[in-house]
């Protein structure tokens, strides 16, 4: 049995958990990348704001696009829908309201990380303590996921969390790829060209993919191979194809998934047939744009099917005799 409202909360909980960890890693890797690059490049602190399409909100709060403003905005600002504070608070609220479905250690892990995060916000202007903050957030998210993965039954609650996680991951990966493709387009400066491999390597790290790339690709780090790995690899759990396959797989376990799966199956098919290396770098951005639009449609369909269904109980009668237990879903 799974309440519609609770399914909605667990889906979002998993999205926020994924978003928090990914954002922290991205900020951390981006900071490290900037330390390797000379100043006045196309890549700077503000690039982060662009990845999250947060230019408008940022401009309401800040005039100067420097490190401190960008970091305050990306980590602490609750008006920024993608900030770590916003995401982690969203995670915490959704765990708090789903305690009856989650292992109780999850709640404790969430609070531990939250207490540390709150306490470290005042020192985030220092690069050194900011790194510690980001590492705490990442390892906190990993501990929370560890509790969930090792203690939760593989029921619908878990299915919704997996769908939420992979939806968020797909979204984040595609945004990051989109931005990298823009930065490394043919129009990039001569100065930046000299740092191509550092940027591609940074991309792999930002998505936590560097080691697996080196191990499985058997290739040096170069643009088209990196793109291929992050988009098409079938066994790396953060590639787009892998995530799309898992979204579809977990959707298939839910009651009456057919209508929703028409989208996920179509997307998956498209990705499985696509040779990303054949797409010129200039067109990657629009390719990712259209993926994000499809994901939004999928997200809305999921909500309509399971979270806010049209359900008029006042007209409802149960056919089974009272006293008989309703059947449980079997796996």
């Amino acid at each position: 049995m799974m309440l519609s409202r609770v399914a909605d909360r667990l889906y979002w909980m998993a999205r926020y958990l994924e978003r928090t960890e990914n954002t922290a890693r991205l900020i951390n890797v981006h900071s490290s990348l900037l330390m390797d690059l000379p100043e006045s490049m196309e890549i700077d602190w503000y690039t982060l704001i662009k990845i999250f399409n947060a230019e408008e909100t940022f401009s309401k709060h800040h005039k100067v696009m420097d490190e401190i403003n960008v970091m305050q905005f990306m980590i602490a600002d609750r008006d920024n829908m993608s900030s770590i504070m916003t995401s982690f608070s969203g995670l915490r609220e959704n765990v708090r309201t789903s305690l009856d479905l989650l292992p109780d250690e999850a709640w404790e892990q969430v609070n531990q990380t939250y207490i540390k995060l709150q306490a470290s916000l005042s020192t985030l202007n220092s690069r050194h303590s900011r790194q510690a903050l980001l590492r705490n957030v990442m390892s906190g998210c990993q501990r929370i996921r560890g509790v969930l993965d090792s203690h939760m039954s593989r029921d619908h609650a878990y299915d919704f969390m997996q769908i939420g996680k992979h939806m968020e991951r797909t979204d984040m990966t595609s945004r990051t790829l989109e931005m990298t493709a823009l930065l490394l387009s043919d129009a990039r400066s001569e100065a930046l060209r000299r740092y191509d491999s550092i940027v591609w390597s940074g991309l792999l790290s930002a998505l936590g993919a560097r080691q697996m790339y080196l191990r499985h690709k058997n290739s040096r780090i170069e643009g088209s191979e990196v793109m291929d790995f992050l988009v098409c690899d079938r066994i790396f759990p953060r590639s787009l194809t892998y995530s799309l396959a898992h979204i579809d797989q977990y959707l298939a376990r839910l009651p009456e998934p057919e209508a929703v799966r028409t989208i996920s199956m179509r997307l998956l098919e498209q990705f499985e047939e696509q040779d990303i290396r054949a797409i010129p770098v200039n067109e990657i951005a629009s390719f990712m744009d259209s993926l994000q639009a499809e994901l939004t449609t999928l997200h809305n369909k999921i909500g309509k099917q399971w979270f806010y269904p049209d359900l008029d109980i006042s007209q409802y009668r149960q056919e089974k005799p009272v006293g008989q237990k309703q059947s449980q879903v079997q796996y």
Binding site: M2, E108, N111, I313, S314
Partner: protein, 488 residues
Amino acid sequence: MKEQWSQYDPGQLYDELIAARQQIRGHSQKLIGYLQGLSPDEFHHRVTESEMVIREMGITFTVYSDAGNIDRAWPFDLIPRVIAGTEWARTEAGLKQRIRALNMFIQDVYNEQRALKDGVIPRDVVMQSKGYREACVGMTPPHGVWANICGSDLVRHSDGVMYVLEDNLRVPSGVAYMLENRRVIKRVLPEIFNLLPISPVSVYPAQLYEMLASLRPDLEQPTIALLTPGIYNSAYFEHAYLAQQAGLVLLEGADLAVGADGYVYMKTIQGPERVDVIYRRIDDDFIDPEVFRKDSMLGIPGIMRAWREGKVAIANAPGCGVADDKVIYAYVPDFIRYYLGEEPSLPNVPTWVCRKPDDMAYVLEHLAELVVKPANESGGYGMLVGPHSSADKVEEFRQLIQENPNNYIAQPTLSLSVNPTICDGNIEPRHLDLRPFILSGKDIYVTPGGLTRVAMRKGSLVVNSSQGGGSKDTWIVDDNTLNGGVAV
């Protein structure tokens, strides 16, 4: 810590742990011996740790009055309150006796009204109770039990006797904090559990589940839910915690609806699924807009019909608040004699009922010494505490009582017992009360101990957590093997 303890002096107050300066009560010797053995640094460290544990466990309560709704860390004092097992056995028996009589009274009110006809209690006292619900007349809930979950507030006076101050029968709260206090102590002072036998409290969620399941004896495995007003309610933490611990479905009103067949259904991803038992944590007034408050957004239209037809069990039963009334309280000892033919084993606080002319004359004469309470308020509102009030205030109440004597009762000002409590690094006596929880379905279960609340300000008797009150773990220890008071 030896020095701090040897300086501790409760004076004239009744102390739960210490009979007089340097005279430790038998049942608390091992605890105090253990605490004395900790160095001041170690003790301080444990106190800090307990605060951290509470934050990590996310044990919070919501305060409305601050800027918006703020979740505050649960206030907890590390030094437990200890009660001897032999005393508790008597208290527990008294609480069981009391809840049986209360439930028989409520059943009587909505059915035969024998006690009203026999003059045990005046009819108008019952009818003026704010908790009386016409819509419940003629109903008999499962096992004839209306108040399935009761939280009775007990206080110990300077005479050493434990009195019942009131019975919370509507939606009593606090039990989650009782459970969490024990979890905190087990983490912070684990060694002490080797030294003395402390009755476990952790069976409460399982007992709650059993009691709720017993409300549908016709079903082998009923679906049981806890209905909460939602995350903005001050007790939301407790609702979520109990649902988690007892394995109940945590529901909000919007998750539920009554079907065409009159059963109650919840909205799931697989469509409607029937709910058989609802542990509701919302007041009667809000439970069914078809019957009670029409503007309620929290309730479920039609749920009263489903309840009356036996298609869903509701705990506590609607209308059970009729007995949660300060005037009716005064008659509870009479209920015990009338329905059970027994003498009450737990005393009420002596109570003058102003509607009785003799009582009123006494009250008006001694107003400045007494506590005066209106019938239907809770949380200490609309009260007069004579010894702590101005002459103007006393006169104001004299007027109020004379205008509407039916609405007032008066009691002597009690001197609540104290317990050693950590205050700014020192150990000082602070006043406390105790709320045990009583579950009644097919059987009756009483928590060993309950939630001890403590007034953290010196001399204060206000134990409410929203007003600066704290809490303590409460230990029932087997005292058969322990000796009497011994010098430090």
